[in-house]
C-alpha cells in the first residue's frame, strides 16, 4: 500500500471519528423507552433479572440463533481438514497440572452452577456459566484428564448440539401458540431454566471446542 493511500485512510478515519462523535452528541433521546417496557413486562417473563428476561424471553430468538451461529462456527472450523504436522500433544508426565485441574475443576463446575441459577434474579446466566464451564473443559483437556476430546464420541457430540436441539424443541412445541418462543406465563420460569441448563452445557462445550480444535486439530 503506498504512502498516499495510507495517508488517505488515516485522514478518512479521523474524519469518520469526528462525524460519529458529532452524531452521538447530537442524538435525540429515543422515543420508545425500552427499560420501562421491560420493567412493565418483567412479572410475566418468569425471571426477575431484566437482562435474562430480554435474552431468553423477550428476544429469545436472538439467543436461539446465537447458539446456532456458535455451532456453525465449530462445524466450519472442523470442516477445514487440518494438516497433520500442526497437531501436537501436550507433554505427558506433568504432575502439577493434573493436580491443579483436580482441585480447580470441581470449583469451576460449582461456580458455573451458581452463575446459572443466579441468572434468574441477578447478573449471571447461561453465557457466563458456559464460559466458566469452557474454562474447566480446557483445563481438563490440558491435564489429559478428559481424553474424550481426542476422539469425540456420541456423548460429546450430543453435548455440543444438545442445547441448540433442546431450545429448538421448546420453540417448535410453542409454535402451536402461533408466535415464536412465546412462553405461557405460568411455565416461563421452568422453561427458561430448562433451556438455560441445556445452553450452559452446550455453550461450555462449544467454546471449549472452538479453543481446543483450533489449538489441536482433530477429526470430530
Amino acid at each position: 500500500m503506498n504512502r498516499a493511500l495510507r495517508a488517505a485512510v488515516v485522514l478518512g478515519a479521523g474524519l469518520l471519528a469526528a462525524l460519529l462523535v458529532a452524531a452521538i452528541l447530537a442524538l435525540p433521546v429515543p422515543a420508545v423507552r425500552l427499560p420501562a417496557l421491560v420493567a412493565a413486562h418483567l412479572p410475566a417473563s418468569g425471571v426477575t433479572h431484566p437482562v435474562t428476561a430480554v435474552l431468553l424471553n423477550f428476544r429469545g430468538y436472538d439467543t436461539l440463533l446465537e447458539v446456532a451461529v456458535l455451532a456453525l462456527a465449530l462445524v466450519g472450523l472442523l470442516a477445514q481438514s487440518p494438516p497433520r504436522e500442526l497437531t501436537h500433544a501436550p507433554s505427558p508426565g506433568e504432575p502439577v497440572l493434573p493436580l491443579l485441574a483436580r482441585v480447580l475443576v470441581p470449583f469451576l463446575i460449582l461456580s458455573a452452577g451458581y452463575l446459572l441459577w443466579a441468572g434468574a434474579h441477578r447478573p449471571g446466566g447461561a453465557f457466563q456459566a458456559g464460559a466458566v464451564l469452557a474454562a474447566a473443559a480446557v483445563v481438563l483437556h490440558l491435564a489429559r484428564l478428559w481424553p474424550a476430546w481426542d476422539r469425540p464420541g456420541r456423548g460429546l457430540r450430543l453435548g455440543l448440539v444438545g442445547g441448540l436441539l433442546l431450545f429448538l424443541a421448546v420453540a417448535a412445541a410453542l409454535l402451536a401458540g402461533g408466535t415464536l418462543l412465546r412462553y405461557p406465563p405460568q411455565l416461563a420460569g421452568t422453561l427458561i431454566l430448562l433451556i438455560e441448563i441445556g445452553l450452559t452445557v452446550s455453550l461450555g462445550l462449544l467454546l471449549a471446542g472452538l479453543f481446543l480444535f483450533l489449538a489441536e486439530p482433530r477429526s470430530l
Binding site: M1, R6, V9, V10, A13, G14, L16, A17, L20, V21, I24, L25, L27, V29, L34, P35, V38, P50, V51, A53, V54, L55, F58, R59, D62, T63, E66, V69, L70, L72, A73, L74, G76, L77, Q80, P82, P83, L86, F127, L203, L206, L207, L210, F211, L214
Partner: protein, 101 residues
C-alpha cells in the same frame, strides 16, 4: 457530558481505530485483531449510548452479550481460516496485498 456518553465516544474511537487497522495492516492476524477492536467499539457505543441519561437499559445489554459470544465464534473461525491459508500457501496476507507491498 454523562459517563455513558464518554463510553460511547471511546467506543467510536475504538471502532475507527479498528476500521483503519483492518484497511492498513496487511497481516491477516492483525486484521482479525483490528476487527475485534472494531466490534468492541460497537459494543461500547451500544451500551454507552443506552445509559447516557443515567438509567440502565437491559435490551442493549442483552444484545451486546449475544454479540460478544458471536464475535468469539467468528474470531475462532477466522483464525482457523487463516491457519488453513498459511498451511496451504505459506502466506499470512491476502494475495493482492503481498503483490502490492
Amino acid at each position: 457530558m454523562s459517563s455513558g456518553l464518554v463510553y460511547a465516544v471511546v467506543g467510536v474511537l475504538l471502532f475507527v481505530l479498528g476500521a483503519a487497522g483492518m484497511l492498513l495492516l496487511p497481516h491477516l492476524l492483525r486484521k482479525i485483531l483490528a476487527f475485534n477492536l472494531l466490534g468492541s467499539g460497537a459494543f461500547l457505543i451500544l451500551v454507552g449510548l443506552a445509559q447516557r441519561d443515567g438509567g440502565v437499559d437491559p435490551v442493549p445489554h442483552a444484545m451486546v452479550l449475544t454479540g460478544i459470544v458471536v464475535a468469539v465464534a467468528a474470531t475462532a473461525l477466522a483464525l482457523a481460516l487463516l491457519r488453513r491459508l498459511h498451511a496451504l500457501s505459506g502466506r499470512t496476507q491476502l494475495a493482492d496485498e503481498s503483490a502490492d507491498e
